[in-house]
């Protein structure tokens, strides 16, 4: 069963979520609700907890306190309706198309439907001519496009992306942003972290601003980029380096 046909698992509700690893509190008391098939961009400096928050939402990490609840799932398993693209693409040592085929087989998509899905996803990501080549021989940018194509083929209701364009060139970044926008058009909820402010401006419908593990601001993208309410967010948008102490910030 393709997840797009199923009733939505959204909204995603975070209730006082904290994560402690060792003796470090890395995510502190985050509460928010994410809904509607729009693009939510998580921004913040390195170490703000962006990747951890994505992993918590996706279920790869369990919160130390608080609850993460897919309200729409209503008892169904939410995992098959989600997919994630990581900062470093992880591809299996087999052909490009076999990588997508493997993901589809894990979601129990019948064999006869897979070929069309694979072809469409590869076309969308501009990788069709590589279908039979080994995935590990692709360039880094192509590998990331394949990772995204694999997620596209799964037709997830929610797609998580962890700085997907952090180390790839503008051309590949452009393709990836195109695919992300196309997925939104098809009704996929996108939750993505980036520290590229330009990318955030291009894609975001909604912005979560994280700093030192805390959710400092959650606003509509237009409102956020026009005038963020949080003083740290204002400094971040001005391109200032964020230090641990508030008093070191220049006044707005």
């Amino acid at each position: 069963m393709m997840s797009a046909d199923a009733p939505t698992i959204l909204p995603l509700e975070l209730n006082a979520v904290s994560l402690t690893l060792g003796d470090k509190r890395l995510i502190k008391d985050i509460s928010c609700t994410l809904e509607a098939p729009q693009i939510t961009i998580i921004i913040g400096p390195n170490g703000a907890g962006k990747s951890l928050l994505l992993r918590l939402c996706h279920g790869l990490l369990q919160p130390s306190a608080g609850a993460i609840d897919w309200r729409g799932a209503a008892g169904r398993n939410p995992s098959p309706h989600q997919a994630m693209v990581f900062q470093r693409p992880v591809l299996l040592r087999r052909s490009v198309q076999a990588n997508i085929d493997f993901a589809l087989s894990l979601r129990k998509v019948p064999r006869r439907r897979r070929r069309a899905l694979i072809e469409e996803a590869l076309t969308r990501a501009g990788l069709k001519r590589f279908a039979k080549s080994s995935a590990r021989l692709l360039s880094f940018g192509e590998q990331q496009r394949l990772a995204l194509a694999r997620s596209w083929a799964l037709r997830p209701q929610v797609l998580f992306l962890d700085e997907p364009t952090a180390s790839i060139d503008p051309a590949a970044t452009h393709v990836i942003e195109e695919v992300i926008l196309a997925m939104r058009e098809e009704g996929t909820k996108i939750i993505m972290s980036t520290h590229d402010l330009g990318q955030a401006r291009r894609l975001a419908d909604e912005v979560l601003f994280l700093h030192r593990g805390r959710l400092k601001e959650k606003s509509d993208a237009a409102a956020f980029f026009a005038a963020p309410k949080n003083d740290l967010a204002q400094a971040f948008l001005r391109g200032e380096l964020l230090w641990w102490q508030r008093r070191e910030l220049t006044p707005p």
């Binding site: 995992s79 299996l92 040592r93 894990l106 979601r107 590990r136």
Partner: protein, 235 residues
């Protein structure tokens, strides 16, 4: 150096004439060691992969034991198998002592820990890379195990080869449990030991040269096979 020259001519003469005793010894060597490698791989590879994948109580202890057993002295293994299979031992009724089967059992015990420990190292590195992605895609542990074994296959071949190398070159265990009986349990290493003790150095060296050539051939074969499948192997 005359010994060495004589040894080489003896070796060539043995091979060229397809000496029937020699081919018997070589065939038994290969049969015993290849059987042992096959069985040890069937046990060792999944065990290694499972140790890399699963976290359970006692895992660290198992890994330590496995690593320690990598270097077990063959003579000790031979002695243990001897005690188990001897008439008075718990498996004495099977009558396996001084048969090729006993030699296979000893070699399996010898190389299974080696193959499992090497496989675990390979698999652990791979799992570190794959874990999040596979969990995100919804892979079951069993499915992940299969993926790891498949994607790590070329590195695993190296682990299996190491096992084969240890098995074919080993003399202590097969000597004790096989007994070096002519036409029954005589293999290349035990022949060499015997010829040396008889003072027949040229023949012993000749056998040694054939043993080395065999080892090189097996490794070369694997290297060629890897080359054929080179595509998609880049780490």
């Amino acid at each position: 150096m005359t010994d060495f020259g004589a040894a080489i001519s003896t070796a060539f003469a043995l091979v060229a004439n397809l000496d029937s005793d020699l081919s018997e010894v070589v065939a038994l060597s290969l049969q015993v060691s290849l059987s042992a490698v096959l069985i040890a791989s069937i046990i060792g590879l999944p065990v290694g992969a499972a140790l890399a994948l699963f976290r359970f109580p006692g895992r660290t202890f198992l890994v330590i034991v496995l690593n320690a057993f990598m270097g077990l002295p063959p003579v000790v293994i031979g002695l243990i198998v001897y005690l188990l299979l001897s008439r008075a031992g718990p498996f004495g009724v099977l009558g396996l002592l001084f048969t090729p089967t006993a030699m296979i059992i000893a070699q399996v015990l010898l190389i299974t820990p080696l193959i499992a420990a090497l496989a675990r190292q390979v698999m652990e590195t791979l799992w570190l890379e794959y874990e999040e992605q596979l969990r995100s895609l919804g892979s079951t542990p069993l499915r992940s195990l299969g993926v790891l074994l498949r994607d790590g296959r070329y590195s695993l071949v190296t682990a299996v080869l190491a096992g084969f190398g240890r098995a074919i070159a080993e003399v202590g265990a097969v000597m004790i449990v096989g007994g070096n009986i002519d036409h029954v349990t005589r293999v290349m290493t035990t022949s060499i030991a015997l010829e040396v003790s008889k003072g027949n150095l040229a023949l012993a060296l000749g056998l040694g040269i054939i043993l080395v050539i065999l080892s090189v051939l097996v490794n070369g074969l694997v290297y060629v096979l890897r080359g054929i499948h080179r595509q998609g192997v880049t780490p």
